[in-house]
């Protein structure tokens, strides 16, 4: 009887050691990419649109911001399987 109980306990231990290991690869896919952002370099408070140079600088800055948003963003992700 004792032997039977010991065998059952041994089987319990074996069963526990066969539990699946959590997938660790999913946790490291997130990255902080905020450092790569192009910051808006013009101080709007020092900007006067009556000044041609200021205006051109502002338009150029806006174009630079937009160039950071390519058409290819949010393209379909394709098949998952």
């Amino acid at each position: 009887m004792k032997l039977f109980a010991l065998v059952l306990i041994a089987l319990f231990v074996v069963g526990c050691t066969n539990q699946p290991v959590p997938n660790a690869t999913q946790s490291n896919v997130q990255q902080d990419l905020s450092s790569q952002y192009v910051n808006f370099e013009i101080d709007p408070d020092s900007l006067d649109l009556k000044d041609e140079q200021s205006y051109e600088k502002l338009i150029s800055e806006i174009d630079k911001q937009l160039s950071d948003l390519p058409e290819s963003d949010f393209e379909d992700f394709g098949e998952i399987n």
Binding site: A5, G15, N18, Q31, L66, I80
Partner: protein
């Protein structure tokens, strides 16, 4: 002694059942496929998250800076109205994007051979929401590129 045997049996039966289900070859193949699909979904979401953060950061930056410009110039009502449109589009985009991620994540509950039909339906639904989010993002970009830039030009003497 009888109690010890009963306790040992209670412990052993579920543990054995679990161990068997994890070691049976076909089950193991399914588990690997589940892991692969789940990892792929997380990779997709991570990639789109980077894009979403970049877009929202750009829209908000342009909104804030140009709002300051508008506040300093007379006759900037049209610019202010278009900046409000940009703000609304940014919020709609963020909301739609969150809906996309939620829907794609919801598909993960069906990845392990539980329901292929429901998995496909969730993926298809998330795909449609992503398309809508992209449409809003393109609209915001177009608003800046055309209307807002024209508004700025009109403020010139």
């Amino acid at each position: 002694m009888k109690i010890l045997v009963i306790v040992a049996m209670l412990l052993a039966v579920p543990a054995l059942a679990s161990a068997q289900s994890n070691t049976f070859p076909r089950e193991r193949i399914t588990d690997n496929a589940c892991d692969r699909v789940n990892t792929r979904i997380e990779t997709i979401i991570s990639r789109y998250n980077d894009q979403k953060d970049r877009h929202i950061k750009r829209y908000e930056e342009i909104y804030q800076k140009l709002s300051s410009v508008a506040a300093k110039h007379d006759g900037s009502q049209k610019l202010k109205a278009d900046l409000q449109k940009l703000n609304d589009l940014t919020k709609r985009f963020a909301s739609e994007y969150t809906r996309f991620v939620d829907e794609l994540r919801a598909s993960q509950q069906f990845t392990c051979g539980k329901s292929d039909g429901q998995f496909r339906a969730k993926v298809a639904s998330s795909r449609a929401i992503l398309k809508q989010a992209k449409y809003i993002a393109v609209s915001a970009k177009e608003l800046i590129r055309t209307d807002i830039k024209n508004d700025l030009q009109e403020l010139k003497p």
